[in-house]
């Protein structure tokens, strides 16, 4: 029982991290109808920027405090992501308005290649560390309930907390600010939003920016866990089942989908994996999402797809 709970908790933590990446997908899809494959590359790019700035800033300015250096690096990386968002809107999206979904998907794949190349040219292609001072030692919880307690990674706990804060912040931003309202209007209906004077282009920049910041946070957490390296870009592929499970257009869907996928992956790996030779995590997530899709083709929380002839 304790072991099961431990696996479950681990799955929830991992799921939280998937949700973070998935969130970026959903934000952009809602606002611009673009299935942004570049989200993984953005995570890599942001994490690379953050890691390198944190390394360079003490050299440039002589700042000793790690906390301060990390904060400045975070802000700088955020600025870099803003520039990326602006360039993407200016150079790519603006010219591809009203194209088919497949064409837009391919365009973001092109952006993916470009950003992977650019990121590694600018920031180098070794493995870097992001050290934001997360405690590494595991803690034991519920020692009174189970013998030996449940082992929880403190790092995961903090990551989950950061993710939760980010999601809360985003929902406040979407619900309470004028920009957030404009974003929701655009997500609902492009043409209607445009007709009441919401500038679509600026909204796209903002939403790519927000997705960039989400990517930065995701990259920071993943990077401090696993190190910043090229394989971070493949995190997008892990997050895809999450969004189709939760629904492409739903923010809560991304969170809950992430949790389901995280738990499903960990449980399947532990309980099913040994029978079939292990390593089933990655396709099991997809199969799980597929089974859900067979019953709800628009995902758990996606908008119902209505066909009109």
């Amino acid at each position: 029982m304790a072991f099961f709970l431990e696996t479950l908790l681990n799955g929830l933590m991992a799921g939280m991290l998937y949700s973070l990446v998935a969130l970026g997908f959903v934000l952009i899809f809602k606002a611009s109808g673009v299935f942004n494959f570049a989200q993984g590359a953005m995570v890599l790019f942001a994490a690379l920027a953050m890691a390198r700035f944190a390394e360079w800033i003490p050299q440039w300015t002589g700042i000793e405090s790690r906390w301060l250096a990390n904060t400045v690096a975070f802000v700088l990386a955020g600025a870099v992501m803003f520039v990326v968002a602006w360039l993407v809107e200016r150079l790519v999206l603006r010219h591809l308005v009203n194209q088919e979904a497949a064409t837009l998907l391919m365009a973001t794949l092109g952006i993916t290649y470009f950003m992977e190349g650019l990121g590694q040219t600018l920031f180098g292609s070794d493995i870097y560390k992001i050290d934001i001072g997360m405690p590494k030692e595991p803690i034991f919880a519920f020692e009174s309930v189970f013998e030996g307690g449940i082992l929880i990674n403190q790092e995961d706990l903090i990551a989950a907390a950061i993710a939760a804060v980010l999601v809360a912040g985003l929902s406040v931003f979407f619900q309470k600010t004028a920009t957030g309202r404009a974003l929701r209007a655009v997500a609902d209906d492009h043409q209607a939003a445009q007709s009441i004077g919401i500038p679509l282009n600026r909204i796209w920049v903002i939403v790519w920016c927000v997705a960039g910041v989400v990517a930065l946070v995701a990259g920071m957490i993943w990077g401090s866990k696993l190190g910043v390296q090229f394989s971070l870009a493949t995190v997008a592929l892990r997050a895809l089942p999450v969004i189709i499970l939760g629904g492409l257009t739903s923010v809560p869907g991304a969170i809950i989908g992430g949790l389901i996928i995280g738990v499903g992956e960990k449980l399947s790996e532990v309980y099913l994996g040994p029978f079939v030779g292990g390593g089933i995590e990655i396709w099991f997530a997809y199969m799980l999402a597929l089974v859900f899709l067979l019953f709800r083709p628009q995902g758990l929380f996606g908008e119902k797809i209505i066909d009109r002839v």
């Binding site: 497949a102 391919m106 089942p241 083709p297």
Partner: protein
């Protein structure tokens, strides 16, 4: 002036329905095929065959398959790499396990098993559409990656899933030298392209296009969505499977599952979209573009670097290649979202009036 159908009268239905209705087209294509069979072998050297022509032919075949599914039937698939892998490994198994199995039959059996897998992974398309389907087909990709790596039976117990074949023969003729491989692939490609072209012009091809354009409307006028979608999956994955078997047997000789990774799926989708959705001709353009571009970049970038006097490291070159490749793809999509095939048909339309447009 030269490219006109003036004076070419159609007096039979057969003449009206031929693939290349204009005589000039017909002769140009025949000349091109003749050149590919006779001229290229005389002009090209071994490097060209190995690096450009053979990969181009095989990937063009795969792109034709993908185009049937994505371009004609409108079902976006990111599982093409998996179907290639199934084709390659199924062909390998029949080739190695059955004594005296002819190469051609082994390749076709690769296509057959790819068809079965394709139909299986096509079943979600009956419920799921568009981008949801694209992600769902990734399930095929990751499942196959895993299966060929972990299940020893498929790979004859070889660890890490790497297998190799040798001693290839067709009707007693060896397929060993680059020239022989080239001719073999070319013959198969011409055959399959002709079949595919005829298929998309027939009733079933029109059903696929109706489903692509609006599946509910197609169902209303009596097209069975299940039959149309699954048949598109079947035909497409058969062709992709044969291409995968060729890629393993003829191009690589020895391969492991990584040769058919998700990157291959993306690459094939790139070919189809850059070449032109819903165009057999476009598949060839797209395949040529994607095969040749990295090679050109690889040769050009160091030359450019030395021109400016900068010594570029290999890592920097590969990164720059990524950047240029990505940027070019985005640029192409912006300039011509309908692909190179669209440019081709615009060119032909212009040529019809040239040089007297009035």
């Amino acid at each position: 002036m030269f490219y006109r159908e003036n004076g070419q009268f159609k007096t039979t239905y057969a003449a009206d329905q031929q693939i290349f209705a204009i005589a000039q087209d017909r002769w140009a294509i025949l000349a091109l095929i003749a050149f590919a069979f006779i001229g290229v072998p005389m002009l090209a050297d071994e490097y060209l065959f190995r690096a450009i022509f053979i990969p181009f032919l095989i990937l063009a075949l795969a792109a034709v398959g993908v185009n049937i599914l994505v371009g004609y039937c409108g079902q976006i698939s990111l599982g093409s790499g998996a179907f290639m892998a199934v084709g390659a490994y199924a062909a390998y198994n029949t080739f190695v396990r059955i004594e005296g199995m002819p190469l051609l039959l082994a390749l076709l059996s690769g296509g057959f098993f790819a068809t079965l897998v394709g139909i299986f992974f096509g079943i979600p398309s009956l419920r799921v559409k568009g981008l949801y389907l694209a992600v769902a087909t990734l399930a095929a990709q990751f499942f196959c990656d895993w299966a060929f790596l972990r299940i020893g039976w498929f790979t004859h117990g070889n660890p890490s899933g790497s297998v190799s074949v040798s001693n290839l023969q067709v009707f007693g003729l060896p397929v060993e030298s680059p020239l022989q491989k080239y001719l073999f692939c070319l013959a198969l490609l011409v055959l399959f392209a002709l079949l595919a072209k005829n298929l998309v012009r027939s009733a079933i091809g029109r059903e696929w296009m109706a489903i692509r354009d609006m599946d509910v409307a197609a169902a209303v006028i009596g097209i069975r969505p299940m039959y149309a979608k699954l048949s598109a999956f079947a035909v497409s994955s058969f062709i992709i499977g044969v291409a995968g078997a060729l890629w393993g047997f003829v191009h690589l000789g020895a391969w492991e599952p990584a040769a058919f990774s998700v990157d291959r799926s993306f690459q094939l989708l790139f070919m189809v979209i850059i070449g032109g959705l819903g165009s057999i001709m476009g598949s060839f353009f797209g395949a040529a573009f994607i095969v040749v571009l990295p090679i050109v970049l690889n040769q050009l970038l160091p030359a450019l670097g030395s021109l400016v006097g900068v010594e570029i490291s290999t890592a920097a070159i590969s990164h720059t290649e990524f950047m240029v490749f990505g940027a070019l793809i985005v640029w192409f999509l912006i300039v011509e979202p309908h692909g190179l095939a669209k440019l081709w048909s615009i060119g032909k339309q212009k040529l019809r009036l040239w040089p007297f447009p009035h």
